[in-house]
Symmetry: C2
Subunit: 358 residues, 2 copies
């Protein structure tokens, strides 16, 4: 979402109901539709527009093509007191992730920590969706997933792994939880393409050309570079081990392409979620108070630019969520057109716009 | 260790025995001495010289000053089936970390995963020391620790967190385990100082001056920058939450300075280790085979520089360990002098040099 694009705003509650109605009209079971809608909605509310409700037509295409199963028969197996595996039956990744985190929280209630691997899943979007659930139970949350290979291997010329994100959350006194949710690249391929279209430059060290050399000209970039060079690459491999090898799913270059590959084939992605009970280690009141104090102390640190305070990871998303609760979710005119077209096709009441700005 | 420095090599087995003998002569209990020696030794064997046996005089100074307790009374409390807390009684961090990982592995045997927080600990050096232990039991290993604040906050002008490393390990068929062990900065402050002394430049985006601005002149750098800017900073905060808040230890700017602060005061550091049983998720033979295949496929990827093959995280350390088993552990003449001085003071047989090169 660029400030240069023309956009409309959707009223938040209505946007969520619309997603739910679209999924149900596309044949998705009620609970699955509700979970997937909640995931897409939270993603948009937090400002991660690339993974938010603008992807609704993409998921509907997956449901129509057979890539996604809207009426999953989950199989959850608790394999030890703290561990379990969830066969997601190729359903929407958001529903699978929320279901898995529910099991992880339940395991953690008795074992102190719960770790659940999800297999036969699909694109699960923003990891914070799952990891933040743990905080509602006063637990820390963890989530990792893998993705289409787009990260140039350190010392190589082409991608082997995706920019495999990881997310850590923790409840905080006096405000919404701490949430670090980051991929192992500085920017996304979507952002590279957006800048190429606008003729804008890329940050140094963020993307590479076909020889693996860093480039700042967006139209020459065909792949991403890892944060800290081999470090982002190493973290991406660590996440791949968890999401592909610990789940029995395809790994690295064998991970399917979200857009280019057939919409008739399940993606067979893996996700791993964990919940950790804070009171198994320290007094949770004290933990949450100390974390809140740390965040406030950090924001009071002297800033490099006097007009831009130091931010705690997750602060931009908190600010955007608060703003969007008041002003609505901005959506570009192109994306709105796709949503209205989808609404028409499925006979769903289209969302009314909330406010229009330019 | 620079290739420009004059150095001597120590025979590996003798180097380990020497560390053990020094610790015992400094009053450290037998098992604690053995664990701390094993940790320092493995660190040097893997080429992480900054954290290896050259630090022996530093730890002995800590023991003499009262910062470190060589005869700890550990208190381990299993708080749920998968979780436990270890009071390390201010002993050497290596001994504490190995003891904690032992408990984590035991918890994982029955619960599928085991997570142990360590409090009242001290500098624990290379995290791979602990995380690799899990692989000896065919488990994945995890370790995080916090450090003296040296990482400039994203958008700030001074450090709040250390470059708080994290480590992930996994057993692999046909070769030593996968091991990613990385701090959240591109380089260490030690490396900045070494380059400043030699008049060498720094990589772009690795360190900053007193205004928080990135610099490549090593003598102007006073702090480190996070990998991927705010991403390394966010990961460092995630690690700090685990190591300081989940352990009840001092956090952020309240973490003591390894070198500048009093050697009479315990450092009160926290470390968190975890072990995860692979067979609680998938067939471990298949997991290890797939990981080995992945590593070999990755190394066969087309390299950017035809003379430098693509490496798997941990490959340089594996290569160095193999080399040092044959050739010995290189140690600079200055560091050797300190070790010989220590040996004389404590009446310990000094290590004989193995081979000398320049």
């Amino acid at each position: 979402m660029s400030s240069l694009d023309a956009f409309t705003r959707l009223e938040p509650t209505e946007a969520k109901s619309f997603c739910n109605a679209v999924f149900q009209a596309a044949g998705v079971a009620a609970q699955t539709a509700e979970q997937a809608a909640a995931g897409l909605w939270l993603t948009s509310m937090r400002g991660i527009d690339s993974h938010g409700i603008r992807l609704l037509p993409h998921y509907v295409a997956g449901l129509r093509g057979g890539r996604l199963n809207g009426r999953p028969s989950y199989t959850f197996t608790a394999t030890a007191t703290a561990t379990g595996v969830l066969d997601a039956d190729h359903t929407l990744g958001h529903a699978a992730g929320l279901t898995a985190m529910g099991h992880a929280i339940e395991l953690a209630e008795s074992a102190g920590i719960g770790v659940v691997t999800v297999f036969n899943s699909s694109h699960c979007g923003m990891l914070a969706t799952y990891a933040l659930e743990a905080c509602r139970h006063r637990m820390m949350g963890f989530a990792v997933t893998h993705a289409t290979p787009r990260l140039c291997s350190a010392g190589g010329v082409r991608p082997f792994f995706g920019n495999n994100p990881l997310c850590i959350t923790a409840p905080m006194a006096g405000e919404a939880p701490f949430c670090y949710d980051g991929a192992q690249s500085s920017i996304t391929m979507n952002e590279v393409r957006r800048r190429a279209a606008l003729g804008h430059a890329l940050p140094a060290g963020a993307a590479a050309d076909e020889s693996g050399a860093p480039v700042t000209e967006a139209d020459r970039a065909i792949q991403l570079l890892g944060i800290g060079d081999y470090k982002g690459f190493g973290l991406a491999m660590g996440v791949e081990i968890l999401c592909a090898l610990l789940t029995g799913m395809p790994a690295g270059p064998d991970v399917s392409d979200m857009f280019a590959d057939s919409f008739a084939e399940p993606r067979r992605l893996g996700t791993v979620v964990g919940a950790l009970r804070i009171d198994a280690f320290v007094d949770p009141d004290e933990f949450e108070q100390r974390l809140g104090d740390m965040a406030r102390r950090l924001r009071a640190e002297p800033p490099r630019d006097p007009s831009v305070p130091v931010q705690v990871p997750g602060d931009p998303e908190k600010r955007i969520e608060e703003e969007r609760r008041r002003l609505g979710i901005p959506i570009s005119e192109g994306d709105l057109e796709s949503l209205l077209h989808l609404a028409g096709e499925l006979g769903v009441e289209p969302p009314s716009s909330f406010r229009s700005e330019r």
